[in-house]
Structure formats: C-alpha cells, structure tokens
C-alpha cells in the first residue's frame, strides 16, 4: 500500500506538461545499438514512415488497454467485431443504409512494423476502415514510441485480482498515442467500441503554447540538408475575436533561427532545459515587439511550420520528413503519457483498477 502511494505521487509530479524541466531531442531514426532496442527492418520502417508522412493526423492519448493482444488471431477477432459494430451503426434509422458509405463497414487491424523501437514495447497497430467497395474512410495508428518510464514503473504495481497478486503489465497494453485521420463519425464509433471493449479512456491532445514552444526549440534547428532550406513559420492568434486582425505570422530564415538557437543552447547537446526554451521564444517575441510595438508575449501561438512538419494547437500534425517520424512520435508519446490521468490508482484502499 505504501509503495503504491509513493509510486502514484511520483506520477503526479510528471503531469501535466508545465512541470517538465528538460527533454531529450531524438534526432533521426533510432540506430540498433542499445541492448533494449529491437532489430528493426529498414524496409518495414520505411513503408510505415512513408504511410505516416505528408498526411494530417489528429492525435489522441489513450489509457492502457485492458486485455488487448496483438497476435494474429486476436487482431482478426477485433476486426470482425468492429466491422459488425460499424455495420450496425450504419444501418440505424429507417432501414436506409446510406451511412454505410460514409462511416465504412470493413475494419482491418494489422501490426505496423517499424514504429515500436524498444524490445519491451508493444507493437504498433494500424486500423483501416474501408467501405464495401474498398474506399478508405478512416485510418488509425495506435503506438508507443520509446515511452519508457511509465511502462517500466507500471510493471511494478501489484494489483489484487481474485485474491492473487498479478503484474499490471500482463493485463494491460500501453499504446498511449493514437494518430487518427478520416471521417469524424467513424472515429467516434471506433473510440466508443475501444472504450467498451478494452476499458480505456481516450482524450484529444491539444498543444498549449508551452508545448508548441518546446517543439519549436527542439526541432527548429533540424535541417533536412536540402538545397533550399525551408523557413520556420510561427503563427500567433489575436485573443480577441472580430476586431479586424486575426493572425500574425512570422517566418524566419533557416540561418537566422539556427544562429539564434546556437546562442541559446551553445553546448549543442540533445538535452534541452525549460529555461532555454523560455529564453528562445522570449527573445523572438521581444525582437518582434521592438519592431511592431505589439505585445507578442500576450498573443497565443497557434501553429508552427517547421522543416520536419506542421503542428497546430488543435492537436493536428503533419510530418513532412520520413527520417524524423520517430523524432516526432517519441515526443508525442511522451506528451500522451503526461496527459493520462493516473489518479484512479491513488489513495483508495481497494487498488483494483476501476472499470
């Protein structure tokens, strides 16, 4: 009991985003050097990364899935069950099956090779929803990319079930990051099915200004080494609606932003602190304030357009570089875990997870 309370209090310190003091930047695709890393086939990785790049994804966080298995027979069973659910939803209402074409009826769960990096990480899962004619209606990726700390600590929490102690890791699969694309109605049906089937909680991730400034600091200096470097764009929104001016967008040349970041973070290491992030964005906003006399510090950042991808505060991302898919997904997995609510495992005497 005491050990549970101590572990839970440690989780509370890790959430939410503002409490994070430093982060590590993952540069490119992971190299198979560490003992805990999987042997990843380059062909599989490229195929999966190509599927993810150049598409706009909405991201969600998901609590651990209860009794979710990624073996072939289980995925087949899930595909059958979800297809039946979607077909039933599509046929609701006066016997006219017009919704089937919009929401889709055929669900296919497959393992997405090349995303999971650590050996003790669950396989990433891809779910596609198609219509009967084979037209794609929605796509989902459920993954966990180098989400180390939580999985490791979760395994140690003992859970009383039927009078015996079991390891949580055996009962739950942690795939905290969901990437979703496609029809909203389909998404809603899929999420409801997952919640019912695997007793999980799915929440939309929205990037706060602080999250976006972290991304800017971590990735603005990453160059794709192309002939013409893309500029870094930051968009600020005017917090008061309908006054005539909606957004202010600034684009910096790659050289300028690189010089600025080198001054903030001279060591060049992959570990970045929150002070460096605050100084970086503070310097940019102060520079613009001096020119325009507009208080940029009071304007919320709404989107970033970097060389490796686009990031919007509504939780939408678009990765533009195949080599940096793991870079982005590692950070997003970390954010997804930070957003998960661990208080259900807190001070109650009965430590059985609530259903």
């Amino acid at each position: 009991m005491e050990s549970v309370k101590k572990t839970v209090s440690k989780y509370k310190c890790n959430t939410p985003f503002p409490s994070t003091r430093q982060r590590t930047v993952r540069r490119e695709q992971p190299v198979n050097r560490s003992i805990r890393r999987r042997t990843i086939s380059a062909k599989d990785t490229d195929r999966t990364c190509m599927d993810i790049t150049r598409k706009t994804w909405q991201i969600y966080s998901c609590s651990p899935l209860y009794h979710f298995d990624s073996d072939k027979s289980s995925l087949k069973r899930y595909s059958r069950l979800l297809s039946a659910t979607l077909t039933a939803h599509g046929r609701r209402g006066m016997g006219i099956s017009t919704d089937e074409q919009e929401t889709g009826t055929k669900a296919v769960f497959t393992v997405a090779m090349g995303l999971a990096v650590l050996s003790d990480e669950p396989d990433a899962i891809k779910l596609t929803i198609n219509t009967n004619e084979g037209k794609s209606v929605a796509e989902f990726y459920f993954c966990s990319v180098e989400a180390e700390p939580v999985i490791k600590d979760m395994a140690e929490i003992p859970v009383k079930r039927k009078g015996r102690k079991q390891r949580l890791a055996d009962q739950f699969t942690t795939l905290p990051l969901f990437l979703c694309k496609g029809n909203l109605t389909t998404r809603k049906h899929v999420f409801n099915w997952l919640k019912t089937e695997f007793d999980c909680n799915i929440r939309k991730i929205e990037f706060s200004c602080l999250s976006l400034t972290w991304m800017l600091a971590m990735w603005a200096n990453i160059s794709l080494k192309q002939k013409k470097s893309k500029s870094t764009k930051i968009s600020w929104k005017i917090p008061v609606p309908d006054i005539g001016i909606n957004t202010i967008e600034t684009s910096f040349t790659a050289e300028s932003i690189s010089k600025l970041w080198t001054n903030v973070h001279p060591s060049g290491s992959d570990l970045i602190s929150v002070e460096e992030v605050e100084n970086f964005i503070g310097g940019i906003e102060d520079h613009l304030t001096q020119h325009f006399k507009i208080k940029f510090q009071m304007l919320p950042i709404t989107s970033l357009n970097l060389e490796i991808g686009l990031f919007h505060n509504e939780g939408k991302i678009k990765v533009l570089s195949m080599r940096h898919v793991h870079t982005v997904l590692t950070h997003l997995s970390c954010l997804a875990i930070e957003q998960l609510d661990w208080t259900q495992y807190s001070t109650s005497s009965d430590t059985t997870p609530t259903t």
């Binding site: 500029s231 005017i238 917090p239 008061v240 006054i243 005539g244 001016i245 909606n246 957004t247 202010i248 967008e249 600034t250 684009s251 910096f252 040349t253 050289e255 300028s256 010089k259 600025l260 001054n263 903030v264 001279p266 605050e278 100084n279 970086f280 503070g282 310097g283 940019i284 906003e285 102060d286 520079h287 613009l288 304030t289 001096q290 020119h291 325009f292 006399k293 507009i294 208080k295 009071m298 304007l299």
Partner: protein, 336 residues
C-alpha cells in the same frame, strides 16, 4: 450558354435573384417563381433564357452585375497610368455605352467581349476573349489615372491596359502594390487620402473616408476591474489612437507584409547573442487590418504608439515594407 448561366446563378443567394434579374432586364422577371428552391429557380431561369434567345454577351453582363453587387468576392489590384497625353475628355467620353464602344475599337484586332456599366461614380467592366469564359473585371475612376483589376492572365491584363491607356489618354502604366477585396477602400486611398491636396471631385465624395462612430465598449479579455486603476493610461492611449488613426474610418486592407533584416533586438532574454542580422517576414492578416491595429492599441495589447509605417498605410497606400537597420552616417571626415 446554359452551362455558363447556371454556374453564375449558383453563386447568387436566393434573396438576390429577383433584384439582379430585374436589373439585368433581359427576361420577364414575373415568369419566375421565387418561392421554389434555388435549384428549381435556376432551372426556370435557364428555360426562360432559351425562350428569350439570350446570347453569351447577356450572360457576361449578368456576371458583371453580380460582381458589382459582391465586390468583396474578388481580389482587386491597383494600377496607375502614367505620362498623360493631354487628351481633352469630357463626361460624354465616360458614359458607359461610349466607353464600351471606344474600348472595343481599341481591342478590335484581338476580338474581345466587352461589358461596361456605370455604378457608384465609376466605370465597372468585364473583358474576356471571345472563346473564353474567364474574364477580367475592372473599375476605372473617370478623370483619374487609376484602375483596379481582378486577377487574370498577364496577357489579357496587358492587352486591356494598353487599350485603356489609349482611350483615356496615357502612354504607360505600372502596377501599384496595393491589393484588397474592398475596391472602395482602394479608391479611398488612391483618390483622396494619398494626395489630399489634389481634390478628386468626380465621385462627389462617394469614396471619401467616412467619419468613425463612437467605439462600442471593447471586450477586455482580462479583469475589467483593472480599467479603474489604469484610467489615466487608457485616456492617454485613446489620445494617441485618435492622433495616429484620425477620426475617419480606415480603408479595409486584408494584409500587411513586413520584411525585417535587422540586428537581433531580444538581448533581454538572450544577452549572449552576437550582433547578427535576424531575417524574418511578418504578415498581419485579417478582414480589416488597420482597424484591427487600432483596436489592439485600445485593448492595451501594444506598447505605446504604433510605428509610423503601420499607422500611415491608409495615407501612403503601401502594403509591403522592408525594414533594415539605419546605417551610421559619418559626417566628420578627417583628412586622409
């Protein structure tokens, strides 16, 4: 003809049908049942148009009327004609039918369709090649060297401008960096506020800046109790705003682009930053940027008075700026 007519009619809202068709005057308006759905009204109009043997020219004229009523659906660019030839023109030359005839004569070798209508103290027109359905719309202000055009192919724009220069007596033209989807705002800048000493009287004050009504209470997104504590500052801010933006309504500009290549000015946060030039391009956008800047100042989201290049856009008519650091001028020349 029917396809083109259908495409144009689809842009209309249901309320606009009766008014625009009456103005068009090419078909009996009483034949159309306006209580039906929009699709059915369009079908009826197409059938009636065939019965009345309407041509493509009539359809283009209808399109021009639609654009005149919905000017903000197009992006208008300003062009200035230079080197006047000293032609003596009078009001007869600027009558719609006479102007159309002259323009068509000058465009003759290339066979273009021309439609002209006089509205709101200006000449509104549509030019397109005979076999093309895509046209260029223009607004010319009589007795002024200015014309506003919509986006079109360079070839057609150049062809039209040469013909227009011949008609109104100029030998050259150049585009001005002024773009807006409100042609009245561009007219306000070009005809009145840019050169206030050169009075333009043909429009009889149509495009003159209107006085601003009293500001309704702007919603403060922070604690309203602060208004009492900062009353003096608010009064001071209102004085500055009145001085910078005057008591007339500002012209509606959709964007302002500012390119800055200056020394880094954020040393308060990054004191170790070397003296390097930070290159960036900032775009302020919205449906009425100048009014937005004025309200930003009133809301307390600015530090003191805004820079002159932003507040004088309404007078100068400039939308794109480049700012660099001023070079030090060494006036003390010692002997070599």
């Amino acid at each position: 003809m029917e396809r083109r007519l259908t495409r144009i009619l689809k842009r209309f809202s249901k309320i606009e049908f009766k008014y625009l068709l009456s103005k068009w005057g090419k078909m009996p308006v009483w034949k159309i049942d306006y209580t039906r759905t929009k699709y059915e009204i369009i079908q009826q109009i197409c059938v009636t148009a065939q019965e009345c043997h309407l041509k493509m020219e009539d359809v283009f004229y209808l399109e021009l009327l639609y654009v005149i009523e919905n000017t903000n659906k197009k992006n208008w660019r300003a062009i200035k004609m230079n080197k006047p030839l000293g032609l003596s023109l009078d009001d007869e030359n600027f009558e719609a039918s006479a102007f159309k005839k002259c323009l068509k004569q000058k465009l003759f070798p290339t066979s273009c369709d021309v439609q002209v209508e006089e509205q709101k103290s200006a000449l509104w027109g549509r030019i397109s090649r005979l076999n093309s359905v895509y046209g260029l719309f223009f607004v010319h202000f009589p007795y002024s060297p200015y014309v506003l055009v919509t986006n079109s192919s360079l070839e057609l724009t150049s062809l039209f401008m040469k013909a227009l220069c011949f008609v109104v007596g100029y030998s050259d033209f150049e585009p001005i960096e002024l773009v807006s989807n409100h042609p009245e705002s561009l007219a306000q800048i070009l005809l009145h506020t840019q050169n206030p000493n050169e009075a333009y009287t043909y429009d009889k004050g149509t495009y003159k800046p209107l006085p601003r009504h009293e500001d309704t209470a702007l919603h403060r997104f922070d604690d309203t109790r602060l208004e009492i504590c900062h009353m003096n500052r608010m009064v001071k801010t209102q004085k500055i705003v009145k001085q910078q933006f005057t008591e007339k309504l500002q012209p509606k500009i959709p964007f302002v682009n500012v390119m800055t290549t200056t020394r880094f000015r954020g040393k308060r946060f990054i004191p170790t930053a070397d003296d390097f030039n930070l290159e960036c391009c900032t775009c302020l956008s919205g449906n009425d940027v100048l009014e937005g800047l004025r309200k930003l100042t009133l809301l307390g989201l600015t530090h003191g008075p805004l820079p002159k290049f932003l507040t004088s856009i309404g007078r100068t008519g400039l939308q794109n700026f480049k700012i660099t650091d001023r070079r030090a001028v060494d006036t003390d020349r010692s002997s070599a």
